[in-house]
């Protein structure tokens, strides 16, 4: 199946001495919600600009819908909706006029404007100048501009900036609906893991211009159980410790509680089965996995 976004060996530096993006390989398949994560200054926006052809790469190549940019730029961009960094809005114009500019260039029907305004819950302020808008309203209008062409690919750089928790949930639900109902492929960047983990099917974590993790959301979840620990409490902890000795790494055996280090989540089930087969009563079996936030911070070494 043709990748919707494909980048190979992408390199770019604003100055030759300091590369901002180093050897990025990226493949986003149809229907994926790709969470592009990284701390501030990691190279997310620069990568997105490279993907959209706003910056020329020093090396490597980008293909969208299986085509390089030079081939049919007009057709390619008609299939893409994008919001890069802060929304690009003309503050002296109304919400309607901002959308009208995009509608005319994209040659869409007038009804699309009211549809997208309704989608982002801005129907009531269609005639209000954007300079009167709050940060969250501007963000939603920026999304409306990106959604206007009913794009097959939506590229959004930190789309929930400035939104309140309710707004964030609304936008997340909107993305999920677009992905589910219209099959829209979404690339969404953020520096906040919790924001992306509830939405993305695939994750790429970038740090200092290169990927430190790429894979499915499940693969990232599985990292939580690498080197995790469990607390075990039985009716005879000494017997339990003797049983585990040599097979598992017992970290601590004090206060009527055993702490074991596990290599994966399957080992927790094995320990439980072993205790039951030995006739020991298990009072407590509590897994302590790293949360995703901690894994993210470890990956970006913060």
């Amino acid at each position: 199946m043709t990748a919707i976004v494909s980048a190979n060996g992408l390199r770019f530096g604003y100055t030759p001495q300091t590369p901002t993006v180093k050897n990025i390989d990226l493949n986003i398949g149809p229907g994926q919600i790709y969470g592009f994560l990284g701390p501030n200054g990691a190279g997310k926006t620069t990568t997105i600009r490279l993907l959209l052809g706003l910056l020329p790469p020093d090396d490597g190549m980008v293909e969208l819908f299986g085509q390089p940019f030079a081939q049919d730029r007009r057709h390619l961009f008609s299939r893409i909706g994008a919001m890069i960094e802060a929304p690009s809005l003309y503050e002296h114009l109304t919400a309607f006029e901002n959308l009208e500019i995009n509608r005319r260039i994209r040659k869409l029907s007038r009804s699309r404007i009211s549809e997208v305004l309704q989608t982002v819950d801005l129907s009531a302020v269609t005639g209000v100048k954007v300079r009167e808008f709050s940060l969250g309203m501007k963000q939603r209008l920026g999304l409306a501009v990106a959604l206007l062409p009913a794009p097959e690919l939506l590229i959004l750089d930190e789309p929930t900036n400035g939104l309140d928790p309710h707004g964030i949930i609304q936008i997340r639900e909107l993305f999920q609906r677009l992905n589910r109902d219209c099959g829209t492929t979404i690339l969404v960047s953020s520096h906040i893991l919790t924001e992306v983990e509830k939405l993305a099917t695939h994750i790429g974590i970038i740090n200092e211009g290169q990927f430190v993790f790429q894979g499915t959301m499940q693969a990232l979840q599985d990292l939580r159980f690498e080197n995790s620990t469990i607390d075990l409490e039985t009716n005879d902890n000494q017997a339990a410790a003797a049983l585990l000795d040599g097979r598992y790494h017992v970290v601590c055996n004090t206060g009527g509680r055993l702490t074991l280090r596990l290599a994966n989540k399957e080992q927790a089930a094995q320990v439980c089965r072993m205790m039951c087969e030995a006739g020991l009563d298990v009072y407590r079996l509590a897994a302590h996995a790293d949360d995703l936030e901690k894994i993210f911070l470890q990956l970006v070494k913060r």
Binding site: R73, R74, L76, S88, E91, H92, I105, K107
Partner: protein, 256 residues
Amino acid sequence: MRDLTDFYLTELIKLRRTFALWLTVIGAAIIPLMLIITYIYNWEMFVPAAGVNPWSELFARAFNGIILFMPLYIILLIGLIFNIEYKANAWKHVLVLPVSKAIIFAGKYLLVLTMVFAFMALFVLFTFVAGEILGICKPGLNFGIHRPEVFTVLDFSIKVKTAVLAIISIHFWLGLKVRNLISALGVGLAGIALAVLMNGKGGYADFFPYAYSIMLLNYNSSPDHANPERFLLVSMAYFLVFSVLAFCQFQRSFKG
């Protein structure tokens, strides 16, 4: 062609409620308004001799005012038009719209040329209205008896527009290179100051773009002016060179 028309229309939408639009209308009205005030307060000074067309003197005075004001207007206009995109941080969005870069460039350029044309047309219209108002307020000035010399007005309008083509192209190119409105304005003001110091055509001034409109000072449509003068041809050459430079800059390295 439809792409260009649609893009051009969106450029007109962007001008709504902007200072650039007001500058075009109010800027074109300033000189005719000042002439009305001057003529009404000192009307005895302007009573023409018998048989003399008062419109000629009115337009000559208006022309002398506009040639000094027009370069400043163009520099401000182009800076303000580019500032609409820079202020909204919108270049990155414009450049990912399904339209070629050539259309974006042509649409913007066409907008600037339209506004300069509209400014000149409004200026001529307002000057005519000023004459009509003076004819009603002060019948002794004889504006009601005579009519304006259409050929002179048209000839001047074409020449002044040709003279400012060089500044238009230079500042369009500058607008793509320099994000800062003040810097472009500074370059323009320095150019105008130097042009005033050069004082008249001939010599190096013929190759100094900011001096061209000033060279039309005390314009009269004598046979001398029937053929294009050297500075007008040089202005057209500047226009071609800087338009190509601006297009190459926009196509190759402009990042917004």
